[in-house]
Subunit: 438 residues, 2 copies
């Protein structure tokens, strides 16, 4: 006999746990189940992410979704006294004159919407970061690589890092306290379709029958193991594995992203890690170099830097994303040939540094505009497509899912800000494109 | 040694042949090659389609793309004396009162944009189609199936059928006459990426190198067999097979669509086929029933009807579309259980009719809004996502591709109408959603 629920939430990454929490909190009489194939929450790509947050977006949609989520996370850490590992280290975008002029419209949009940003001139940067190369003179390698000079930096103070494991555990704990049920180690393999009015005909639902999602099957069984009135899909990079078989598109494509952890050994790199002048923590901010989106952040408790870069073009979309992420590894040569030459050109202190660890995960891209999606299709609610910035918008998106469930036009985000949920749908999509990317 | 071209067009379906023709016609000095894996043009899904045309869309974008293409096809057939098999039989949408009120906004938009439509009342329809059931009284089956009554019909006169094989041959012939080159039986298996400035480093292009599509490889070879300054991708349902490996999204998903050819045997069905009163040809129009999008059209020269239906939900997207469409077959039970009960309820003359043939092909859906896409990404031009109505918009879309190539903001469609090409892009997409679907 299948178990019956009012709502089943598929996926316990940041989108799933936040959605489950707000659904249970705001619909206390409902019987809600959250399922995930892994042994705990956040064990998929949420746990493998760089877990940075920023409110510095050019899109007003990204601004409000991230800014309100960040405020909620600080509320949890400061007022509710749950340590989420939040460190407001800031983001520092280094750039040359051309890049700076190109970013003017985005910066104006941030300023006019109250997003705090600061400009650091070249001299101030040279003073704060004496080990940084700001130009390369007649360096042939730098010219061949097309490295822009550093003529300034844009600094976002309401940006930083958090601990994704603690964050998802906070939501799961609150969900369970509110009466929610969890089933970990349960791999949802299929959405089970059924006619709204079953007739017992072979091959149901037939084309002339109204069809709906009756529930989900787990671990490869043919029928519905869990029957639910509403199914919330928060499958991240794997969203389309469940949607495509029933002919729906989650508008998400998966792409590999890699992180490289480098020892902050030796006095120079240790000093770089503890660079003062940017934040009250006395730590280096996340630094974004002017080439290929190479960026690195201090992970002070591990005495290392995490280094990554952007590779949109020529990095394939993953057709059949692996479920066993343990076997999904980073590529040493990608670091050594792609990232390292750029990193050491701007920060020669990294010359000879050693890799401590490297790993890979999947971004869940909404390839239309890179902004998150949340929409209803019959009795399905789909959330995803956060394109690498889901953790920093997770709280707002959980509230949006709950509003969709309760047929509310506006979600009330943390801090009392309203957000029209149809903006994130497919059919009535109405979002400002993001121009301010790493 | 790879061969070198200014432009290579991948795919010789309707999008490819129309694009190739306008590119060669408007850029006479350029060396252009069109390649296709099949032995001739239109041997993929173009040749398997229902090949209907209509100008009756609610979206002004669809209206202008289709209406101008239809005008061009009639120009070819009437003025250039190339028989494209055009038959202006019309489309007849049967509906009940509820469906009719729902369609009012779409009908108003057609009328205000000069799209010709006519309303047929129930009595007139009963007179023209005496064998049609317009209501079902206490018929239990009709009630169980939820069949709406026929209370009227919307008729589009500038709608009909054409011969897709003749249409693509027209474009290929003109392309070759204008100096274009064709390579059939050439399966493009890969887009070959290369640095804009090659350095001879292993693993090029690296992340800090500017990369571009250098050409295409054919038949599984590792390098570029054809080098081109511009690559035009018109791969239809297979678009993403070439784009995903380089990390781009063609925004197209493939879904199986089926056609069933039924003998018009016996005096009643033969009489139905040659129903007078709708068009000067004295033929039945394409008839769309009020349930599940079941529709059928007369194919007079074959003395049969082609029958199909819509099955959006619960029809999976195809992950790895088969290239050998010969093995891609229709499902008899889909006809017998899904379509036949609806068809025979409204037109009992089909009772006992026999299937002559059945086949299947792939729709190339743009799942965001079902309208076509045409965009540039570096030196790539992508066209597709026509979602089942590519043939009727093919001429306009070929002109749009040529305008993209020539950096023109506006494409001049047949009849002198201008169309802003960025409307069909992803980044600056600006199309009216379509509400008037079969």
């Amino acid at each position: 006999m299948p178990s019956r629920y009012d709502v089943v939430v598929v996926g316990a990454g940041i989108m799933g746990v936040s959605s489950a929490y707000y659904l249970q909190k705001n619909n206390p009489g409902k019987k809600i189940l959250m399922v995930d194939r892994y042994g705990g929450a956040g064990q998929g790509n949420t746990g493998r992410s760089n877990a940075m947050f920023r409110n510095t977006f050019s899109s007003s949609d990204n601004q409000i979704l991230a800014d309100s989520s960040i405020d909620f996370y600080f509320h949890v850490q400061k007022e509710l006294k749950v340590d989420l590992g939040l460190q407001e280290i800031g983001y520092l975008w280094l750039m040359d004159e051309t890049q700076h002029s190109k970013s003017e419209p985005s910066l104006r949009r941030m300023a006019s919407n109250g997003i705090e940003i600061a400009f650091f001139g070249r001299e101030r940067l040279r003073h704060l970061l004496p080990g940084m190369m700001t130009d390369f003179g007649s360096d042939g390698d730098a010219e061949v690589m097309g490295l822009p000079r550093v003529e300034g930096g844009i600094f976002g103070p309401k940006c930083g890092r958090l601990d994704p494991d603690r964050l998802v555990r906070f939501y799961v704990d609150e969900f369970v306290k509110a009466g929610g049920n969890v089933a970990f180690g349960s791999d949802v393999t299929k959405l089970v379709m059924a006619p709204s009015k079953p007739l017992g005909i072979e091959g149901e639902p037939l084309v002339w029958q109204e069809a709906r999602v009756a529930g989900v099957s787990i671990g490869g069984s043919s029928g519905a193991d869990v029957v639910a009135d509403t199914v919330v899909l928060a499958g991240g990079a794997w969203l389309n594995e469940l949607l495509e078989p029933i002919g729906l598109d989650g508008h998400v494509k998966a792409k590999k992203r890699q992180l490289f952890s480098v020892y902050a050994e030796g006095s120079k790199l240790e000093k770089l890690l503890r660079t003062a002048g940017f934040n009250p923590l006395g730590l280096l901010p996340l630094v974004i170099l002017p080439k290929a989106g190479v960026h690195f952040k201090p992970v002070s408790e591990e005495r290392c830097f995490w280094v990554a870069c952007e590779d949109e073009l020529n990095r394939p979309f993953v057709d059949l994303p692996e479920h066993n992420l343990d076997g999904y590894v980073a590529e040493r040569q990608y670091y050594e040939r792609g990232i390292y030459p750029v990193l050491t050109s701007y920060f020669p202190d990294f010359n000879g540094s050693r890799l401590k660890a490297m790993w890979a995960g999947l971004y869940a891209y909404n390839t239309a505009d890179n902004l998150p999606l949340a929409f209803k299709a019959g009795n399905l609610i789909v959330v995803g497509g956060d394109s690498g910035s889901g953790i920093m918008k997770g709280d707002a998106l959980g509230r949006v899912v709950d509003s969709l469930y309760r047929h509310e036009d506006e979600a009330q985000l943390y801090g009392g800000r309203d957000y029209r949920v149809s903006k994130l749908s497919v059919e009535k999509r109405d979002v400002e494109r993001e121009e301010w990317v790493i």
